[in-house]
Amino acid sequence: MEDAGFIIGSYVLTFATVGLLAWRYVRVGRRLAEQVPDEDKYWI
């Protein structure tokens, strides 16, 4: 049933993309956060 492939594929694609985006943001955030002193971080 090719339908299942498309349906699962849609979910996988969506979550994979979102997951990659989230992971990238967190990773870059961690890398930059090491170089920026805490007093400059307005969210703390």
């Binding site: 339908d3 498309f6 349906i7 870059v28 971080k41």
Partner: protein, 269 residues
């Protein structure tokens, strides 16, 4: 004998590890929980559709992604407007606009691809030139342009001003595109294989799944935009610091040069 020691260097506290706060952790966990619910209901508990069969399940992620894209672009437009028209041009608004646009662009891309998969199942074709699809495709390209403008050389203020103008022009362009495409496609009814307004008769459980999806993805958007905006703030700070450092280095260089030149002639001076 007591010696007066110079004030010790204030020990720099170990910088925090990232852009997370308690707020975003709660947001993140809620998002994950909501997503689990979404998958459970979308792929499991909800029934198949009368007309679309199982393909309707794709809508439970497809509709939320375009929903997030729309929110993102509205936020970008509003933040652009606030930046441009406020007296105190706070770059935070510019960063919010940029972060939101970036997220929105990714979500439009996902929407287009997943939509093509859905279209293949329901219409038999990956694409058709109807009003909605065409406008969405142009929406995507428009914001790619916005992101390109953000990457042009210049100061943060220049970037902010240019992007804000482009962001607001997008608000002008999108409706114009939408109307012209609507008018255009209304003349070609035979091209529309299936009414893309998606007026599927949805029963309670299906509507609920859709609702869960929208909630889940909205939480996700908030989480993403908070993290991205904070990262951009740090990037700007580091860029400024890098510039300051470069200027300081140049000044030190030229001072050193002057000093050496002075010493060389120093004898007669």
């Amino acid at each position: 004998m007591t010696t007066t020691e110079p004030t010790p260097q204030r020990e720099k506290s170990r910088p925090s590890s990232g852009t997370g706060t308690r707020g975003t952790r709660i947001l993140g966990i809620s998002t994950i929980v909501a997503m689990v619910w979404l998958v459970a209901f979308g792929l499991g508990f909800s029934p198949a559709d009368r007309d679309q069969d199982e393909a309707v399940r794709i809508l439970y992620v497809h509709v939320p992604t375009i929903w997030v894209a729309y929110i993102s672009f509205v936020v970008t437009a509003v933040a652009s407007g606030i930046y441009l028209f406020s007296k105190r041009k706070s770059l935070g608004w510019d960063r919010l606009a940029g972060a939101s646009a970036e997220i929105g662009t990714v979500f439009v891309a996902v929407t287009l691809v997943v939509g093509a998969l859905w279209g293949r199942l329901t219409w038999g074709v990956f694409w058709q030139w109807d009003a909605r699809l065409t406008t969405t495709a142009l929406l995507f390209v428009t914001y790619i342009g916005y992101l390109a403008v953000r990457r042009l050389d210049g100061t943060h203020e220049q970037r902010a001003r240019r992007s804000a103008v482009i962001g607001l022009l997008a608000v002008l362009e999108i409706p114009l595109v939408h109307w012209s495409v609507r008018l255009w496609r209304s003349l070609h009814q035979e091209a529309t294989v299936l009414d893309t307004d998606g007026n599927t008769d949805m029963d309670g459980l299906m509507l609920f799944s859709l609702f869960v999806g929208v909630i889940a993805f909205t939480l996700l958007y908030l989480w993403l935009v908070l993290h991205r905006t904070r990262t951009m703030a740090m990037a700007d700070i580091l860029e400024d610091r890098g510039l300051d450092q470069a200027l300081a280095d140049r000044r030190a260089e030229s001072d050193e040069f002057d000093r050496r030149a002075g010493t060389a002639e120093g004898g007669a001076g």
